[in-house]
């Protein structure tokens, strides 16, 4: 459990109340954020375990460990757990929950009880999905494509889908809560254009959560109905159209990619100015880029279905729209680099992660454009090129930003400093491990290695061995921060209220913050990222 803080004199959200029940029934957004950290950490390592088994299997062309059926289950469970039980809630529900009210100068989110309920619903959904794993797993792939998922698969499809269905409600509650919070809980003087970019990006994320998740719910409902009653909805033998399932699924799941990447952009937009000591370049552009990514992200889902038998005319439209979404993404990348230009950059751990993010996101984004091009997509569809692309975005993007954000705000969350030297080393390890794991997958895919196969021709082995070796390094890069952050919770140096000399309301209160965040409601008079004015303060010491 949470240890008694040595300096008992100062009351904060961690020591205000103690005991397990005070955590299980808390409505404090900061504590709920930490509850989410606990939950998703479990799922991250579980999903990672499946990834480890996948990479072990692929060390040799004929497979070391599993038959094809088991392998199918492994990558399915890896995908389901990582997407719905780690990536979707990763940053919004942990850092977002913790920081959004503080950045707005509010005491809590708009609906604190709903916030706690969302955590319980999330865990309930996760338990139902775990049940399907313990009963033998699911083998449909995380995408549940019909008619395999509705007619042919003999595994626990309904349980897995039900778990995701339930967890979807948790997403909706969080998104709804954040939107209402941003609209109505801002401190006096906190106008829209004084909001930190973290808020803008999370606002965009919440819009997607609210608008897209219901479609996933109804799609999974239809799959369950078709599977239970064996009636025709998507089954072509009964007059259904399997491509309709893909339309509905990707109407959710493509925007879901932006649910994962927008919060990562939110974190990086805070880190880059803070460690370059410069205001964010082109604030309004980055703000509107977040909103346009959320909006345009809904218009591109058809690019997952170019080879699925959709109309070539619709495919052209979807391809064009997919190119369009690259514009706001590129604006962001350019503005981060422009922020760093001539800044006084310090190489603290969060900044290392942020720079890693920008590089990997750029590569992941550009290869996304390859996939949006109709002709190239036909060549690399369903190959490791696709696997490499989305891991660059989701792992190289979201996970690195999550770790960077955790380090940056760790002093605020725990009131302790983490060991800086070890942290820099582990950031480097994660980056090297990542490149080694996923860059070979681009090459594999381009050479024609299809995804989701348990065995492969021997000429691909060298790339697979590289990838597996990288994965083990990457694993170390994840386990290290987990260990030393936990260690620092007990033994770290006490953190000052503002260790990074950052701007932003969350740094204006003590570390860890008091239960209601601020001793008195702050009044905002300036925009974010006013590092110029802080310079004198710094020079004076």
């Amino acid at each position: 459990m949470i240890p008694a803080v040595e300096v008992a004199a100062e009351r904060n959200y961690l020591n205000e109340e103690t005991g397990v029940l005070s955590w299980l029934f808390t409505t404090d957004h900061k504590r709920i954020g930490l509850l989410y950290v606990a939950s998703i950490s479990v799922f991250f390592f579980l999903g990672g375990l499946f990834a480890l088994l996948i990479r072990l299997q692929l060390l040799t062309p004929n497979g070391l460990l599993f038959d094809s059926e088991t392998y199918n289950k492994l990558f399915t469970m890896h995908g389901i757990i990582m997407v719905w039980f780690f990536l979707i809630p990763s940053i919004p529900n942990t850092l977002g929950n913790f920081l959004i009210p503080m950045m707005l100068g509010a005491k809590d989110v708009a609906f604190p009880k709903l916030n706690l309920l969302s955590w319980y619903v999330f865990n309930l959904g996760a338990l139902v999905t775990l049940y399907s794993i313990f009963r033998g797993g699911v083998d449909t792939g995380w995408t549940f494509y019909t008619p395999f998922s509705t007619t042919f698969s003999t595994t626990y499809v309904i349980a897995a889908a039900a778990g995701i269905f339930i967890a979807g409600f948790s997403s909706i509650m969080t998104g709804l809560n954040f939107i209402a919070t941003v609209h109505r809980m801002r401190a006096p003087g906190m106008t829209w254009f004084r909001l930190p970019m973290f808020i803008w990006s999370h606002y965009a994320t919440s819009l997607i959560l609210v608008l897209a998740t219901p479609i996933l719910a109804v799609t999974l409902l239809l799959v369950a109905v078709e599977r239970i009653f064996q009636v025709g909805i998507f089954d072509p033998a009964l007059g259904g159209d399997p491509v309709l399932f893909q339309h509905m699924f990707w109407f959710y799941s493509h925007p879901a990619v932006y649910i994962m990447i927008l919060p990562a952009m939110a974190v990086v937009s805070e880190l880059v100015p803070a460690f370059s000591r410069k205001p964010l370049f082109g604030y309004e552009f980055v703000a509107f880029a977040s909103i346009s990514i959320a909006a345009i992200g809904f218009l591109v889902w058809g690019h997952h279905m170019f080879t699925a038998g959709t109309s070539p005319y619709a495919a052209e439209v979807f391809s064009f729209l997919s190119y369009l979404v690259a514009v706001p993404s590129a604006i962001k990348v350019f503005n981060w680099t422009a922020t760093m230009y001539k800044g006084s950059i310090s190489w603290d751990t969060p900044m290392l992660y942020a720079i890693g993010f920008i590089g990997l996101f750029a590569i992941g984004g550009v290869t996304g454009l390859f996939l949006a091009a109709l002709g190239i997509d036909v060549h690399v569809q369903d190959t490791y090129f696709v696997v490499g692309h989305f891991h660059f975005i989701m792992v190289g993007g979201t996970v690195l930003a999550y770790l960077g954000g955790m380090h940056y705000w760790w002093p605020k969350i725990s009131g302790k400093m983490y060991p800086e030297g070890l942290a820099r080393l582990s950031a480097l390890v994660a980056f090297i491990g990542f490149i080694l794991t996923f860059f070979p997958q681009y090459i594999l895919g381009y050479l024609g290695m299809p995804r989701r196969y348990a065995v492969y021709p021997p000429e691909f082995q060298v790339w697979h061995v590289l990838s597996s070796a990288g994965a083990s390094i990457l694993g170390i890069g994840y386990i290290l921060p987990f260990c030393y952050l936990l260690w620092s919770w007990h033994y770290g140096k006490p953190a000052p209220p503002n260790p990074w000399k950052s701007t932003g309301l969350e740094w204006k209160t003590s570390s860890p913050p008091p239960k209601h965040n601020f001793e008195e409601t702050p009044v905002v008079t300036t925009g974010p990222y006013q590092f110029g004015e802080m310079k004198e303060e710094l020079d004076l010491g």
Binding site: H183, F251, W301, T310, Y313, V317
Partner: protein, 104 residues
């Protein structure tokens, strides 16, 4: 929160009942594709009456109207882009793009 008068509610109610009877009555005529179009248009009219007067959308804050408009736009995106695929498939009738064959 402004209070809407009972008279407005009563008029809305009357309008909804009248439109329901109209919808049903017109349904008995065979107007080809217009059966569907008119039924949907009348339903949309009824829905707007409910939203505007019963749900007070006319009297609400700007943000509520923005939320409402956003919802309508997103439904339009979902429908139009999906229909864009299905309605253009037959333009290029090669085997891969045939709609699924009907069951036996």
């Amino acid at each position: 929160m402004s209070i809407v008068s009972k008279k407005v509610y009563l008029l809305t109610f009357g309008g909804l009942v009248a439109l329901t009877l109209l919808t049903t009555g017109l349904g008995f005529l065979d107007m080809g594709p217009f059966n569907t179009i008119i039924a949907i248009l009348l339903a949309a009219t009824k829905a707007s009456l409910i939203v505007m007067f019963f749900m007070h959308a006319l009297y609400e804050t700007r943000i509520v109207r923005v939320i409402l408009a956003g919802g309508i736009i997103w439904v339009a995106i979902l429908l139009s882009l999906t229909i864009a695929d299905y309605s253009t498939r037959r333009f290029m009738p090669y085997p891969a793009n045939q709609p699924p064959v009907a069951g036996p």
